[in-house]
């Protein structure tokens, strides 16, 4: 039961341009959403999160947008850098249940 979906397995962008990674979810009970970044042979590391009471959260080059009516969120990276090349996972959890579910990931490649 894939409750969190990342339909694009890969994305390639040029250095300096914007990267947009998308995520859809099916469970309307989710109220916290997180993005993680994963390099090869390492565990995922937390990047940015957003609560369902917000529609935008920004941290430096990273911004997450949430559209609750569409059950959709996106991660924007501006400007993209080669060091951003990694697999990005979208995750979600819900109140009083910290059981966090992840999407399948999107491999981002930023070309110099």
């Amino acid at each position: 039961d894939q409750q969190v979906k990342q339909n694009s397995p890969s994305l390639s962008v040029q250095e300096g341009r914007i990267s947009i990674l998308n995520c859809d979810y099916t469970n309307s009970m989710f109220d916290y959403f997180l993005w993680y970044k994963k390099y090869p042979a390492e565990g995922p590391t937390f990047l940015i999160s957003i609560s369902s009471i917000k529609d935008k959260n920004e941290d430096g080059r990273f911004t997450v947008f949430l559209n609750k009516s569409a059950k959709h969120l996106s991660l924007h990276i501006v400007p993209s850098q080669p060091g951003d090349s990694a697999v990005y996972f979208c995750a979600a959890s819900w109140f009083n249940n910290n059981d966090m579910r992840f999407g399948a990931g999107t491999r981002l490649t930023v070309k110099p």
Partner: protein
Amino acid sequence: GAGVSQSPSNKVTEKGKDVELRCDPISGHTALYWYRQSLGQGLEFLIYFQGNSAPDKSGLPSDRFSAERTGGSVSTLTIQRTQQEDSAVYLCASSRGHTGEKLFFGSGTQLSVL
């Protein structure tokens, strides 16, 4: 320790053997998770421990999989009678257990079943 520690980092076993994977969470973290990532796949939820509550085992793929968390700290994931499809990276994560709290992951155990 400073981070989540998993051991072994690599495990090669023969089909039909049992394996145990260990996770040491960050000290004080009440929530502990096991996920696995098969080749080319995303993170698949396996099991979740929160404090003294009964674990959420809904992600365990079969009854060959089990996990324990002793003393609210170290956890062991056991796979009995391993099959080739069990080959994956098994990731452990911990958190302080608050809603929406970010997870801290270990580097994983690469399990290869021959």
